[in-house]
Structures are given as C-alpha cells and as structure tokens.
Symmetry: C2
Subunit: 430 residues, 2 copies
C-alpha cells in the first residue's frame, strides 16, 4: 500500500483523483500495489468536482499534506514556478517522492529539483509533463535506452494544434480561431505560453535533456509562435503538398544539437500531418530503432491523470522491492472470451451476382430479414445473364446473423460463387 | 556491470550484438549499467556478420553459455517452440534472467515460462516479441497501467502489411507480390505463419494477456489470413473510402473480450490506414487516456535488437537496486548546442512582390547568390503595380544565408513588405 497526497485540485488533480478511486482495483490486480488517495490540498475545497471523497481527505493546508508522515508520494499539480517549486522542494526534503506535470518548473529548475531528490534518496516522476497521456518520457528514457537519438519532432501543444487545424479546415484567421478556442476552454485567457511556443519549448527542453544527457533549458531553444500565421500561407502550403504545424524539433548533427520550436510545413503524406485538433504526436528517430511515432491526447484531466498515476505506480514498485511485480504473462485472472458468433462489426460483401432483374432485391431482402442494414451498394459492369460483382457495405451487424445470411445467399440460383466477406472497423467505433 | 550471453546468432542476434557493442558507452552514461556481451552461441560461427568480436566470445555450445557462472542474462533468439523452450527453461532454472523475442514460444508456453521464472526469482523480458522496436509491451504494462483497456487494434505483422501495401499500390495479385516479397527477404520461404495471420495472433494473445490479466492464447483468437484477398476488393474498398489492412483486434465489451485477426477495412482518414510497408502500428484505447497510437518498424535486426537491449537494461536496473538510476533531468553531460545560424532547413518564403517585370529574377538572383536554390514558385493574381504574393519553396539552405538574403530582399523597392518565412521539414530528411 502506498499513500498519496495531491496538492492542486484543478483539472489534472481531479482527473488523477478520479483514476485513483475508479481504477484502484485494476491497478492492484496488475501490480499488487494498493494506491490510497489520502489527502488533497487546494485553496478551493468547496467546488463540486463530481467526485465523492471520504471525510478528511480535503484540506486547504498544503503543509498538512507534505508533513503527513503516512504519505509516501506528493503529487504537485499547482502549476507555475513559484509556489510549485517551494512545495516540491519541501516535499523532497521531507523525504517524499514527488510526481509532477509541471513542465515549466522542470524546464527551469530541473537540476535543482533532481539534485534535491537524489540527496534525499527519493524519486521525481514527470511522465505527465510532456505529451499528456502519451508515455513519451518512458519511451525515451526506457524503451529506446539502447539508441543514440538522431531526432525528435513533435506536436507537443494541443492548443496551437487545435488553432492551426481550425485555421486550415475553415480558412479562418488566427485571432478569430483563438477567441473560439478560448470560449471552448481549449486556450487560456492569457494564451501567451501556448501560442508563442513557450510551452512547446519547455517540453522540448525536457525531451532533449533525456535524449542527449545534458541540461538543456528553454534558453537553448529557438522559439517562434503561431501568432503571425495567416490562412494564405496555410493555403499555399496545401498547394505545395504540405500541412502547417507547430513543431518542437531536436536534431543531433555534426555541429551539435539543434533545438527549435517554430511553425513548420510538413509533407502531407507524413503521419505528423494527420495529427489534428488537440492531439499530440512525437516522432523519435533512434540509430537502432529507426523512425517511431507516439500519438495521443496531449492534455486534459483524464489523459494527464493517466500519466500521473503511472508515475505513482512506478515509484511504488521501485519502493516495494528490487524485482518489481510488473504484470507478466503468468496471469491469474479468469478468461472472459466473447464468442466469435456474438461479435458485432460492419461488413463488406462482394456477391458474384448474375446480371438479372431482381437480384439486388433478393439479396437485400435476406440481409434485411437478419437485421443487417445496408450503407451503400456498388454495382459494376453489365453482362446479361453472367456474374458481375455486387458490393454491399453494411452497418453494424452480428457475426452469427451474417453467417446465416451468407449461407442463404450463397444457395441462391442467381449467385454464382461464394461471397467475399471482409469486416470493416473504425467509422462507427471511432 | 551485467554479463550477457546470446543464444542464436541470426538476424536479431546480430542486431543485438551490434547495439551492445556500438552503444555500450551511451547506455552506461544514461543508466550507470555497463552491459558486457560475454558469449554468443550458434551452430554456425563461421559466417561473417560484419561484427568484430573478441576471441572466445563465439561458441557452438549453448550449454556453455547457459552454465557460465559469470553470465546474468541469457538472450534467446533461436525461434521456434522446441529447442528455444528447452534453452529458456534451462536458463531460468540455472538462475539466469531471460530476454526473448519469441512470440510463438510465449503465446504457447507463457504460463510455464513465467512460473519457472518466478520460482527461480528471475525475470523474463519480452519487449521484442511484439512490434519490433516499438516499446509496446512497456506501454501497455507500465505506461498505461492506470487504464482499463477498452480496445487494441494493431498492424503487428510487417510481411502481410508489405504485401497488402504492394497489392494496393500496384493493383497486383497476392501470389505475385508474395513471390517478390520472398525474393526481397520480406517473406519467409514458408510464409504460412505470416500470411495466415498466425504470427499476428501470437502477438495479439500476448497483448491481450497483459491488457486483460488472463492467460489468453492463440487458441482464443479467431484467425483469418490474407491469402484470399484480391485487388478487386482492395479497389472497391478504396471507392468506399477504406484501406485494407490485416488487423489484430482485442476489444473489451459487455459479453467478454473479442480477440480476432482478419483482413479489415479501415477508414482512409484513420492513422492506421497510413501505416504502409513493413511498418507496424498499434492503437491502444484506455478509459482514462483515450486513443493512443504507437508506430515504428515491426521487425528487422536493429529495431528488434533495440527492444532486446532495453529489456537487458531494465533487468540490470532491477537487479542493481531498489531505486533504478533511470536517466533523469539532473544530467551530467556537457551541452553541445548548434547555433541557430548554422541550422539547415528547407524554407517557404512569401514575398509581397510588386507586380512588375523582372521582380522574380531579382529575388531569385539574391537567393542564388546566397546558395539558396528553389524547388518551386507560385505566383498568383495580377495587379499591375500592386503587391501580389510570390511564393518560393527552397531546397536545404542555411539559416544564416536565409537571414542575409531576406534582409537584402526586404530592402528592394519592388518588395512591399516583410517577407513571410516558414521552415519546411520532412521530404529531404525522411
């Protein structure tokens, strides 16, 4: 059992608390670690956040959380670099492990914080500081540990990507879209950090420090924001075969490391070009692994909370012993398997239909009788009396019904061969 | 220092050995772990693999490696489920940690192997068993540990994705493309495991076991291969707005877990549709994190070796102590920063050029004098004597030269305002 105290009960704090309460069981099953949310400190403890907490969990006194001898891990979710720094250093000196999502704090005071942690033999988790729910920190420092990192390219700020996506789709001006984004809560009242590229630069400094093992800070990053981007340039980019994105770029070359954040034109067929709205994606190129890409929601209560909680679990496992009990293939759970017959999917059928009147009506009649409804039909070619392909795309249908319908259809005298059947995923499910 | 023995010196064995030798320094800098490649066993120790090994490293006797008391970690890269199983169990019983890329072995005998490991208090690493160099195992079991996994969709077999991509691009028949893939070494002489979907099913069983905590095996997976796919169906799919991919799918629903591998039509605008050739991609949807995607090379000596070595490092860190010395932000390296002036990039310029004869020649002359060469030019509209946008896309050029050229151009009397300058990435670099 590990006891957790959260300081800062805003968006991410609320997401983290929800996950700790709702998924406590599955985390325990997977790792043997029981994560107990013991205290939450915030100046505002009245507002309803849609969470039921036990009595005594909430407090307005951050020190009461930091100094609680039962608490093992302090989660700092205040933001900013003043009070947050004080809280983090105080917690580390009190012998608590710290988990934080605060990229500005880490990119500015990272060395001091990690040295204090080392001196007090505690750990600092910061998965949530870059890429929201995407485990990009873990990927760079653990998954790709065997690689010399050649380059990192990332869309690491959801606000600017949302704005650029809207400007592209609606040929709208920056100012207009920014106002709309502020209304929807995708941009802050003071959007400077995001739209001027500062937030992206903080995140790039963190990634570069991990990738290249030297203390890169925001002062090492060439930064340009998106405020002067116009729909005209986006349109010209499109004509040339490019999309406009705010990229954070680190590249290792002969002359040293390039670190830059600026609006960038990316070839339309590159995966990064397809990353739209508030999504983030980071492309990492290693000398052994080659090109890899990591994609997901870069912000938000639950995605960022997912990263915070993964740090808590990592720390708990490290504290628990030398051989962390990661989920392995020697599972103890019971299998709960759905029968293939019960699976629901969209379907593509290609019938070898004889070109005679009434064939489509017969086939669609059988499909209808089995609750299989049609999205579209393609009928090609004319060979009176001969077989022509008749293609049908369906809405969601049950495998069992599909099998029965096809058996019936394949027996029709107007069907000249076995029907091709391919499942379709995505449009209904996404 | 950790001593490693490799058993099986084929493609992945060679890649692993190369990484251990070439990147030993950077791994030590990052983690403090010195990984020493002590022995390699293979029946063929004569063939030149382009690697210089110290005398005495190579042996034909697997037992000499397994029983070497100095060796901490055995890397099994034989493949298959007979000798490989014997080697792995023998190594575990000898108290060695094991790292393997063998999905067939794990999907078939996973429980026995992990129980033997637990009984002997050693670990089994298997990052390389799914997704080649993509750290997807680490993502599912560690990065997303806080999530209930709603669904996993993946292209996890490069051979079939290569074949389907070629069939799509060249409207070619399956048999034809298979033969070509065999010639190029992308498909085995006996391609059954790949093209019938068995390899994908093994990998899905491993992912599902980790995601859902119960011992799913290949027998639980509904499997269909790609052998009966025709160019006609791929073409109809395109008309309907879909791409055809071999997907491995796990979905958690009310009725249990669906596990299936089959050709699947995926909407063209979905990221998975853009994953072509031998690349793999796995989409993981968690209740907190939402949709995430992981993309990279799914096979090959170096990518798979990257995953093998990350497992070795993970084991070494776990063995070394309770607080693994992961790379942190308190780095000790020296910064080597490239000056922005020296950065090389492609560029997009938009000049506000007066619509007069000779303007393009003046501008391109200045660009040329600074070694900036032009890929394309777009000139739009006609407003005699007024400013019209003149767009130029350049080849790679140096930031310093670009700045100087733009200063000169902005002073021209035929240029009516400051030039817009946006960097372009990707086409030259990728």
């Amino acid at each position: 059992m590990i006891n957790v105290g959260i300081i800062g009960f805003g968006t991410v704090g609320t997401g983290t608390a929800k996950i700790l309460l709702n998924n406590r069981d599955i985390i325990r099953e997977r790792t043997g670690i029981d994560v107990n949310l013991r205290r939450i400190a915030d100046l505002d403890i009245k507002r309803d956040r849609g969470i039921r907490l036990a009595r005594g969990v909430l407090t307005t006194d951050a020190n009461a959380v930091i100094n609680d001898p039962e608490i093992d891990v302090i989660v700092e979710l205040i933001g900013g670099t003043t009070i947050a720094k004080e809280v983090v250093l105080k917690a580390l000196k009190a012998g608590k492990h710290v988990v934080t999502a605060n990229k500005a704090l880490l990119a500015t005071y990272g060395r001091e914080i990690f040295r204090t942690a080392a001196a007090n033999r505690v750990q600092v988790g910061f998965e949530a500081s870059v890429g929201g729910g995407i485990p990009i920190i873990k990927v760079v420092r653990e998954g790709l540990v065997a690689n010399r990192i050649r380059a990192i390219y990332g869309i690491v700020n959801g606000t600017t990507n949302y704005i650029l996506t809207k400007m592209t789709d609606e040929k709208a001006e920056f100012g207009e879209v920014l106002k709309e984004a502020q209304k929807l809560g995708y941009a802050e009242a003071d959007p400077t950090y995001d739209v001027e590229g500062i937030d992206s630069a903080h995140k790039l400094a963190i990634l570069a420090t991990l990738a290249y093992g030297a203390p890169y800070s925001i002062r090492d990053v060439h930064v340009e924001g998106i405020t002067s981007i116009t729909p005209m340039d986006i349109e010209f980019a499109r004509e040339l075969g490019y999309k406009l994105k705010l990229l954070a770029i680190a590249k290792a070359g002969g002359g040293g490391i390039e670190l830059r954040v600026h609006p960038t034109m990316v070839p339309e067929d590159n995966l990064i070009s397809k990353v739209d709205g508030v999504y983030n994606a980071v492309y990492v190129e290693g000398d052994a692994v080659g090109s890899t890409l990591y994609y997901g929601r870069g912000a938000g209560d639950m995605p960022t909370g997912s990263a915070v909680v993964s740090d808590i679990v990592d720390i708990a496992l490290a504290v628990a012993g030398c051989a962390p009990a990661r989920p392995s293939l020697a599972t103890t759970g019971r299998k709960a398997l759905m029968k293939m017959d019960d699976v629901v999917s969209m379907y593509y059928f290609r019938f070898a239909a004889l070109d005679r009147p009434g064939v489509l009506s017969k086939i669609s009649g059988i499909l209808g009788s089995r609750n299989i409804s049609i999205i579209s039909v393609i009928q090609k070619g004319r060979h009176s009396g001969k077989a022509v392909p008749l293609v049908v795309l369906t809405h969601l249908a049950r495998e069992r019904d599909v099998a029965a319908a096809l058996r019936e259809i394949n027996r029709l005298s107007v069907v000249a061969g076995k029907t091709v059947c391919i499942r379709v995923e995505g449009r209904d499910a996404d």
